[in-house]
Amino acid sequence: MHAEEQNQAVRATAAALDAAAEPLAGLWNAGPGTVRPAVSPQQLRVMLAVEDEEPMTLGRLAEQIDVIASSASRICDRLQAAGLLSRSVSAADRREVLLRLTTDGRSVLDRLRQRRRRDLAEVLSRMSPEARGLLLEGLRSFAHATRKGRASSVRTA
């Protein structure tokens, strides 16, 4: 196949995937609205990023979720007001703000994961082993290709 045709085929699959992934993403992202306090998908992404690298600086967070620092700071304002995130000044560098999840913040993430897992398990139990196998194979391959892309994109630090 010529490169151009191959490109066309990939884009066609990507457009189909845009539609096909919506229900799964919906199940994934529906959770945040169902626990109390409800958090938005964007707020959830912030909490997950902080959980990954605690304590996290505000600058690093902005980089991780790919937004400008002032937007990251506004999202943190709301999470802090809701008691899910705490901010402190770094002892090493007074200009740096360190972000941590609070106990309540951690508990929101736990409950979300439990709920998501229960929902996923229920849908999977309605699928045949063959269908589950296809899904797992496809998702794994996508995750692998995502990591490959990150590794090959030029990035210092």
Binding site: R11, D18, L24, L134
Partner: protein, 178 residues
């Protein structure tokens, strides 16, 4: 009731593997110009699939209370993304439609997502790409057989006092980010 019991290890693995796809899919919305909150985007996507919707129909599609859908539509209308008209047959019923700008925004979202997904798919074999599509379609079919039992619990839990509690996702996300 489980037709095909799902082995636990497969569940944990699937959860981990699905994360990359959901993250790529969801990040498409972050790249749109201008402040559109995620509830607003969900409403626009629901409207895209139908020519017009009633306020009640949209609320059902989003799983939201009529009062919050009405507020959501206020903001979308103010932003020029939807129009509201009284229904010709029943004057009290409101019909909501995407404007040309609203439609353009949704088209742009699909294009952005297609770009993001193409980038990853181009590093996958054709067989893996097909497995992913087929697996997701089976997943969707299974999801739609009947509501999830957790979803029913949520509806039961949607009592007035629960709805009145302030959620940071509501007030927070609706504010323009710029």
């Amino acid at each position: 009731m489980s037709e095909h019991p799902s082995p636990q290890p497969a569940l944990a693995e699937l959860e981990q593997a699905a994360d990359a796809l959901v993250a790529a899919w969801s990040s498409g919305a972050d790249r749109l110009p201008g402040p559109v909150s995620s509830p607003q985007l969900r409403a626009l996507l629901a409207l895209e699939k139908q020519d017009s919707m009633s306020l009640g129909g949209l609320g059902e599609a989003l799983g939201s209370l009529p009062s919050s859908v009405s507020r959501l539509c206020d903001r979308l209308e103010a932003g020029g993304l939807v129009t509201r008209r009284a229904n010709d047959v029943n004057r009290r019923a409101i019909t909501i439609r995407l404007t040309a700008d609203g439609r353009q925004l949704v088209t742009q979202l699909h294009a952005t997502r297609t770009d993001l997904l193409s980038d990853v798919l181009s590093r996958m074999s054709p067989a893996s790409r097909q497995a992913l599509l087929a697996g997701l379609r089976e997943f969707t079919r299974a999801l739609r057989i009947r509501p999830l039992s957790a979803a029913e619990r949520t509806d039961a839990a949607r009592r007035p006092e629960a709805a009145q509690r302030t959620d940071i996702a509501e007030g927070g996300d609706e504010q323009p980010a710029g």
